[in-house]
Symmetry: C2
Amino acid sequence: MQNHPPQFNQNHLLAALPPAELERLKSHLELVHMPLGDVLCESGGRLSYVYFPTSAIISLHYILENGSSSEVAGVGNEGMLGISLFMGGENTPTWATVQTAGYCYRLKGPLLLQEFNQGGPLQRVLLRYTQALITQISQTAVCNRHHTIEQQLCRWLLLTLDRLNSQELVMTQELIASMLGVRREGITEAAGKLQQAEIIRYRRGHITVLNRAGLQEHVCECYDVVKKEFDRLFRDVRK
Amino acid sequence: MQNHPPQFNQNHLLAALPPAELERLKSHLELVHMPLGDVLCESGGRLSYVYFPTSAIISLHYILENGSSSEVAGVGNEGMLGISLFMGGENTPTWATVQTAGYCYRLKGPLLLQEFNQGGPLQRVLLRYTQALITQISQTAVCNRHHTIEQQLCRWLLLTLDRLNSQELVMTQELIASMLGVRREGITEAAGKLQQAEIIRYRRGHITVLNRAGLQEHVCECYDVVKKEFDRLFRDVRK
DNA sequence: CGTAGTATGTACGCTAGCGCACAATATGGC
DNA sequence: GCCATATTGTGCGCTAGCGTACATACTACG
């Protein structure tokens, strides 16, 4: 697991800011630990802070009337939670819960808004991130329609892996199922196949990835699309 | 069909601008007719213009490696095409094609960008729209996972209806199927049920909605969520 | 060290939607 | 008015994933 003390630049958005800009924000950035399962925002709820994860992962998901749910995107150290604060409307129908315990830096909403409205590099970075998030959500929509549970599991594992500095995720099959919006048994079956192929190993809430390349052989194209889009959008973000 | 001459304020985003702002843009807004099937943007392609539909409807969709496709959102008179121009990155993996022929006002990309960067009411309106678009895409993702073809067809018909001033859509079942990312036969079946219930009537590429309330009885919650979110975000947009 | 409770494995019938094949019917262009 | 073509109807068998039920196995905690 992640034992390093958190650093500002472990969050890619903070890291993408010009040093002077980050320096200015530092005194307002508060480090907080987020426990697994913590609900940061319910549907229609208002966030008081925006969160920049370093080691935590937050899941953006919807809960339907019949109780079933689906993740539309995850937010890890590549992003932030709380875009509705600067996009307008202040809240969304989305839920946000902690999917992997860890640390975030947080910033008071009004302060972020004020900074955003300066229109400088921070605005640029946040809008780019929002664009990347849209791609992620869109790809989830398409993937939900056309790809198998096994493919989607691989996508989800890879995206989660990219947000951690570890090959092990603390995660029950039940939880993964609710993220993907499928039955727990569906995950048991798909994960069983991957384990037989010696791509992953799991025991009661711990999944270890043995062979990342193996995941990439089983994943659908959706992972690559999202990954490349994030890379592309942040490669030249400072220009 | 729509025989009125197009007006600027038929597009809700343009209508939401303060009169002075709209006045300033008018001389740059060019009215163009968009024929059915026109591809405005391929995956990774760059738009030279942004488009504000009045009577046209544009579909944002993905095409997968295996050739299947799915719409992630539609853009009608409630919105605009080309958010990536101001969000950053200039292009996206999304395709944009004309789903219903009609008119759009278009604006040169660099000009829009310049206006956006003023940070005034236009920026506010465009960001709010983007937020609403995110809700629409998210809801599509969830709907794809959990709802039946019939429910999704109703959602799609209602959303499309809201963008037209007409009860009749010019639309083959084949086209609807490719939007929803399902088989054409699936649409034939679902549409058959709706026709038997006297909710719609169709003949070779023309669908007439006889009973809008009937559609709302068969639709899933997703329609309402999207609809309400658009209403909410634009109710107070000028404040 | 035993046990309660959580997590995972497995089985079975069921349904929605798929893929394919082909029939039937409408419509616009000649 | 006729025909080529686009559109819609229908009928298979098939599969992925669902819902349910219950068995097993791990592990944390007393």
